[in-house]
C-alpha cells in the first residue's frame, strides 16, 4: 500500500515537474501569440463592461438612455443569453454521451484502496 502510494506520488511529481519546465521554456513567439489572444479576450470583456458612448450626458438624455438600457437588458435575454442555454444544452449532451466508466469500485480493489487513502489524506 505504501509502495503504491509512493510510486503514485513519484509519477505525479515527475510529470508535474516536466510540465512546469515545459511551461517555463515556452518560446517568445508563442508567448507573444498568447498575449495577443489575451488582449482580444479583454477587448470582448470591455465591450461588456463599458459602453462605447460617453457616460457624461444631460439629465434628459440620461433618463432616455436609462429607459433604453432597461429595454436592451430585457432584450438581452434573447440575445447573448440565448446562446448560453444552447451552450449548456450542448455541454450536457456531451456529458450524457461521454459514457463514464464507473465500474472501478466493483472490479478493481486497488482503486478502492487508493480512493480510501486519498480521502484519508484529505486530497481533493
Amino acid at each position: 500500500m505504501a509502495d503504491m502510494k509512493e510510486r503514485t506520488q513519484n509519477i505525479e511529481r515527475k510529470s508535474r515537474e516536466a510540465f512546469e519546465e515545459s511551461v517555463a521554456a515556452l518560446d517568445g513567439a508563442t508567448r507573444s501569440r498568447l498575449a495577443r489572444a489575451r488582449e482580444l479576450a479583454l477587448t470582448e470583456a470591455r465591450r461588456r463592461y463599458r459602453p462605447s458612448f460617453s457616460t457624461w450626458v444631460p439629465i434628459g438624455a440620461a433618463a432616455a438612455a436609462a429607459v433604453m438600457a432597461i429595454a436592451l437588458w430585457s432584450g438581452s435575454h434573447v440575445g447573448p443569453q440565448a446562446a448560453e442555454p444552447a451552450l449548456v444544452a450542448l455541454e450536457e449532451f456531451d456529458i450524457m454521451a461521454a459514457g463514464d466508466d464507473l465500474d472501478m469500485m466493483d472490479e478493481d480493489p486497488a482503486f478502492y484502496a487508493w480512493a480510501v487513502e486519498e480521502t484519508a489524506d484529505g486530497v481533493g
Binding site: S15, S22, A62, L72, P80, L90, M104
Partner: protein, 209 residues
C-alpha cells in the same frame, strides 16, 4: 451525476448599463473586474496552451483553442465570481479541444472516402502524421523528453482520463473543480485519474529504467 452550469443571472448583464447609471463607483468596479480578468488570463494562458498541445499534438491548433476559450470566458462568463473562472475556463477549453478533434476525424474520413484523393497507402496514420511537437534535438531538455513521453502515454488514454490527469496534476484543480471542468461527477474524476496514473506508472516507469 450531471453538473449543471449556473444560469446567468442579472449581475453580468446589469453591469453593462451601470457605468451610465451608477457613476464612478460602478466604473471602478468594472475596471477592477477587467484587471482581475487580465490577471487570471495572464496566469493561465501558458499552462492552458501546454495542456491543449498535449491533447491536440499541434502547435497552431493549441493556440487557436486557447484563444477561443479566453474570448468565450470573457464574453460569456466574466460576470461570474472570480473563483469560478478557472474551472469554467477549462470546461470551455475542453469543449474546444473536443470540437477540433471531431473536425479532424471528419476531415480524415472525408479525405479517405473522397475518390481521387492522393492517398498512397490508405488513410494517414494519425500518430505518424501528427507534427512533432518537440522542436529540434538541440532544444530538447531532459524534461521536454519526459514530457514528450508523457504526452505519448496521455495520447493513448481516453479523453476523460487525459483530462482528469492534466487538470488535477498539471493545473492543480481539486476534485470538485475538475468535476466542473469535465462536466462529470467527483467519483468519475477519481476513477479517470487513477487509471491515468496507473498507465503512466507502467509506461514511464519502464521507460526510465
Amino acid at each position: 451525476m450531471r453538473v449543471r452550469e449556473e444560469p446567468v443571472i442579472g449581475s453580468a448583464t446589469l453591469s453593462w448599463p451601470m457605468p451610465l447609471i451608477g457613476g464612478r463607483e460602478a466604473r471602478e468596479t468594472a475596471v477592477d473586474q477587467e484587471r482581475a480578468l487580465e490577471r487570471f488570463l495572464a496566469g493561465v494562458e501558458k499552462r492552458a496552451f501546454r495542456i491543449a498541445k498535449l491533447s491536440l499534438r499541434d502547435h497552431d491548433d493549441a493556440l487557436d483553442v486557447v484563444q477561443d476559450a479566453m474570448i468565450s470566458l470573457a464574453r460569456n462568463y466574466s460576470g461570474h465570481p472570480e473563483e469560478q473562472w478557472r474551472p469554467l475556463f477549462y470546461r470551455i477549453l475542453r469543449n474546444r479541444i473536443t470540437d477540433y478533434q471531431r473536425r479532424r476525424r471528419v476531415r480524415r474520413g472525408v479525405i479517405a472516402w473522397w475518390p481521387g484523393t492522393a492517398q498512397d497507402d490508405g488513410p494517414p496514420d494519425p500518430v505518424e502524421s501528427a507534427p512533432d511537437p518537440s522542436g529540434t534535438p538541440d532544444e530538447k531538455l531532459e524534461g521536454e523528453q519526459l514530457l514528450e513521453r508523457i504526452g505519448q502515454v496521455l495520447a493513448a488514454l481516453s479523453g476523460r482520463q487525459r483530462e482528469a490527469f492534466m487538470l488535477r496534476n498539471f493545473e492543480g484543480l481539486d476534485v470538485a473543480q475538475t468535476a466542473i471542468a469535465m462536466g462529470c461527477s467527483e467519483g468519475s474524476v477519481k476513477t479517470h485519474y487513477f487509471r491515468a496514473v496507473q498507465a503512466l506508472q507502467q509506461e514511464i516507469g519502464e521507460w526510465q529504467t
